[in-house]
Symmetry: C2
Subunit: 144 residues, 2 copies
């Protein structure tokens, strides 16, 4: 079989710190384009499961050891990343301790996910809106 060409695959993580509000999430300021604030995450390596990639990327960018809780959803709109079609599997996770920016992260902040003043990269505002809806209703966002 010649190798098919499919969209790139990433894993992103919504990290809630234990002891903080359920709406608080860890965001990173990206060191590389597209600049701005975003959920921690990155490309999945061949030979690595999505879950392993999520745990690895969280560790690399925030120095946190996360416990994955559940999959929030898959985000696959071809226009969601201007660099090229990238599908993201988004996991919800918890962690303890203080996040520290590392690797592709310039800075870290813990933000209330309901705060819309900070402009987020990619479709991460949509992802957080889906997360908030899940927290409020117990329901996963409908397929788009």
């Amino acid at each position: 079989m010649s190798r098919p060409v499919t969209p790139l695959l990433a894993a992103d993580i919504i990290i809630r710190l234990r002891g903080m509000s359920k709406y608080s999430v860890v965001l990173i300021e990206r060191l590389n384009p597209p600049y701005g604030w975003a959920l921690p995450g990155g490309f999945v390596d061949v030979g690595e499961s999505l879950e392993s990639a999520a745990v690895r990327e969280a560790k690399e960018e925030t120095c946190l050891d996360v416990s994955l809780q559940a999959l929030l959803g898959c985000y696959s709109d071809p226009s969601r990343d201007a660099r090229g079609h990238t599908v993201s599997a988004v996991y919800m996770a918890t962690a303890s301790g203080k996040p520290t920016a590392a690797d592709d992260a310039k800075q870290i902040m813990v933000m209330d996910s309901r705060d819309t003043a900070t402009r987020l990269a990619f479709d991460h505002r949509q992802i957080l809106d889906d997360y908030i809806a899940l927290l409020k209703t117990g329901r996963i966002a409908p397929l788009r």
Copy 2:
């Protein structure tokens, strides 16, 4: 950015025919290796959302127009496809009418998903077990 290399991406579909048992699913016999019975599905095209790929693949292989209901989960174990690391987003869908084998499908059958006598390709037995657990308990399988 040089294009990263990430696992291949596929969408697979659990199709339930309206009016039939909730445990019944449409399976195809694969025309190409690995041979055997499997859920309909296939590789996602660049520029196509996961949901569009799921609807397209269902139509191509079973001639059914499916309505996607929800994402069952993502299956990303590197060993799940011997041809190379392929991550699958698995959708649950409903459809009306009679499925007909086409494209990559040699034959079609509608099977009770609890019937374990038929050996399935890839990790599709695991996927159906997760589906049955969801039907029985209302809960999505825990992350692996």
